[in-house]
Symmetry: C2
Subunit: 100 residues, 2 copies
DNA sequence: TTATATATATCGGACACCCAATAGATCAGT
DNA sequence: ACTGATCTATTGGGTGTCCGATATATATAA
């Protein structure tokens, strides 16, 4: 059984969803995403977390990328926008009333 | 790698959080919780999902229970309310802007 | 050119989440 | 008492999520 302290769960999951959401606001490269996730979740995801997540979204056809030197800037493809729309609807229904 | 269809993720996780939230609205027993989760997530969690989750919250001291016949009605303990408050704050910060 | 910093990427494994199957316990109706 | 329905509960295992360690590539500075 998982250990619990003051908190009820470790808020795992939804990483791919959050990445899609963040990219819908602004095109970013991997490190920018990691920094933004750090602000929101309180802890910066490791490279072994962020890059496989990006890869999965890329392989699903949800991302467009623009390479410039060592950085790769990602944005949402049309399929990515559609996937985000569907996921947002489900997310909203699931957590209806949780937000203040 | 996980398979992806139209959607970006399978919305796993946060079951304990959702249970705490639902119990903060209304005391319920296990089956009521499962039905409410079915309405929100679109699929009713199996007994092997809901009861271990309840057990974990109970062992963490987050729940008070009132047995009456075969049903056990759960409500939040003071620690449970506190845990929910903390988790809600984190949840809100993490998913800020996702809600319409 | 060497050194350092930054960005990207992969691999192995730990752990959490959840389900299917199964079983015990209690109640209602016949 | 018997049957079926409902609620609770456990076990075993599959799968996804994530991290630590490590490696590669590119840019900047001395």
């Amino acid at each position: 059984m998982r250990k619990m302290g003051d908190d009820c769960c470790d808020m795992r999951g939804f990483l791919g969803f959050l990445i899609l959401f963040l990219l819908s606001k602004k095109a970013m490269h991997g490190q920018e995403l990691a920094d933004e996730l750090a602000k929101r979740k309180g802890e910066k995801p490791s490279p072994g977390t962020i890059y496989p997540a990006i890869k999965g979204l890329k392989e699903a056809g949800f991302l467009e990328e623009q390479k410039e030197g060592k950085t790769i800037t990602y944005s949402l493809s049309p399929q990515g926008k559609n996937a985000l729309r569907i996921a947002k609807r489900r997310f909203t229904r699931t957590f209806l009333g949780v937000f203040p």
